[in-house]
Symmetry: C2
Subunit: 328 residues, 2 copies
């Protein structure tokens, strides 16, 4: 019997989840839940109902894992604990600083409901976290580096859009090649914020706005831009929509560490992602971990989990025998 | 209380394990076991006994995890099941094709003894296996690539040394940059054996040997060299011993895969290692997994395990709370 997946929220992550379910032989999409009028939501998969979220409680026996596709700022802190009382759930909660409190509230709710709630799956947090943990366990005497991009930062794009005179904007975070090369050389460099990432902004002005003033405000904005080398381009709205609509992203996690009687041997572990579609890759991770959530629940486990708690074999359709024979 | 580690076999891996134990705050070396005369074995750690392996049964209450540092060809297939009846054990068995039978024999022995036996830890098998499994679970529609090097292949060096007229030899396996670049480009290339790796040989001849004949025999050797571009250098024994004594190694694991309604989005996952000391890095992995073995055993688990069965958090000294706060 296939694992029955429910999706809550049908934006980029919801659509990505739907595509990832279709690519998995052992899963099927049971329903999409939305806060909108269901008749206004058109999904890709034939013969799957779109249901108003107010009716979700009727579906507790028909869903094995509910994938929560809301945002981390306001949706997930409320939704994940609420639905973890009713369903096995998984989310991509990515506000790093608030993970401990989110974990605690999901843990309490999931235990109350006898369910499993896996939080913060995706690539950062998610695959990057895994790589930090493995590499730190293996090389206790070392140094970590994480670089993001090239990809759009929603937070930085929003910050530009709040400036007076700006109609629309996209901001790319770009890792600096010289910094990547310095890390790869094994030199264990101390890198400043400015040395690690460049910020490139594509900005559409309101009619009559002062370009020089907008550029100054961007470049001097504390936290977001002041500590970086920032490049600002002014373009038309048409160019923004056609040339900067992509959702590519990626990044790098390094750990460099030493071993030896006199710490004379250097080792470099590098993990990188180059993704054409950030939401589709993120949801591919979610669906692999949804498989693990089902398995943990079938074993009788309950409570909150993260990617750090899951044996890699649990992500796979294949049996242990098959994995040992073909992947080990 | 610290985890008490025993080492069986004091070659490069045994010494690497000793160094990795010294670098771990939560571990201590309890004893080194050897088949040699213990008085002939000098170890690095003060006040730790070197014991003849014939007396190992007296140590069952004094060792939490025994690290087996023998070779995969003949030592481990016999040693790992034998000692898994008496101790929690871990090995770096790396004959990929024989992993299923090794797993079965260790599983039966460990269950009989009520112990945990973790096999095939290291980097390939080991960390490379983890990356293959994670990446395949996340991108089911894709293609895998593994490259090794630059590093010495013991098997290929041995093959050269068996040729008449050869006194000594080292063979480096070198990944071809153009192949790495083609994979990174997302082109999903079909790569031949020759396109993926080059083989570079440093050969010391016996007095009066025929260099041209030796070079021909190397380059035409089936399986080992015939399918590769092979470079042969003749050097003095002194140069071999001074310039080619290093134990550096490394490699790359890629998975490239597609997502999207029309499979229009390409994703590239790359993992790579650049290691100054192959044995010291391998044993750093072993010691991280020894921590997991202790924890599984404390939970009452028994039988054979591989890296695919172990939650990443089990490799770490830190608590779940600490890991979620600092690494997720």
């Amino acid at each position: 019997m296939k694992t029955r997946i429910g999706i809550l929220g049908y934006g980029n992550l919801g659509r990505g989840t739907e595509i990832a379910v279709a690519a998995a032989n052992d899963m099927e999409l049971a329903a999409v839940f939305t806060r909108r009028d269901p008749s206004s939501v058109s999904i890709l998969t034939p013969n799957v109902p779109v249901i108003n979220v107010d009716e979700i409680e009727k579906w507790t026996d028909k869903i094995d894992v509910l994938v929560l596709c809301g945002g981390s700022a306001t949706d997930l802190p409320e939704q994940t604990p609420r639905y973890a009382k009713l369903f096995n759930v998984i989310d991509s909660f990515d506000t790093h600083a608030r993970i401990p409190e989110h974990f605690a509230s999901v843990d309490a709710a999931a235990k109350e409901g006898g369910k499993v709630g896996l939080i913060s799956a995706g690539w950062d947090p998610g695959l990057f976290s895994l790589n930090r943990v493995y590499a730190n366990a293996i090389l206790p005497d070392g140094k970590d580096y994480t670089f993001w991009g090239k990809g759009v930062s929603q937070g930085h794009s929003d910050a530009i859009r709040r400036i007076e005179g700006v109609k629309n904007a996209k901001q790319y975070t770009i890792p600096v090649d010289a910094a990547l090369d310095a890390v790869r050389s094994g030199a264990n460099p101390e890198l400043t914020t400015r040395q690690k990432h460049t910020r490139e902004c594509f900005v559409v002005l309101e009619d009559g706005a002062d370009a020089a003033q907008v550029e100054k405000e961007i470049k001097e904005m504390p936290n977001y831009f002041a500590d970086y080398d920032t490049i600002v381009h002014f373009i038309s709205e048409e160019e923004l929509l056609t040339e900067h609509a992509g959702m590519a992203h990626g990044g790098f996690v390094f750990r460099t560490g030493k071993t030896g009687i006199n710490k004379e041997n250097n080792h470099i572990i590098e993990y990188s992602l180059k993704l054409d579609s950030n939401p589709e890759f993120t949801t591919s991770v979610l669906i692999a971990y949804a498989r693990a959530v089902k398995r943990l629940s079938d074993e009788g486990q309950t409570g909150a989990k993260t990617v750090l708690d899951i044996p890699p074999a649990y992500l796979c359709e294949q049996s242990g025998e098959e994995l040992r024979a073909h992947f080990l």
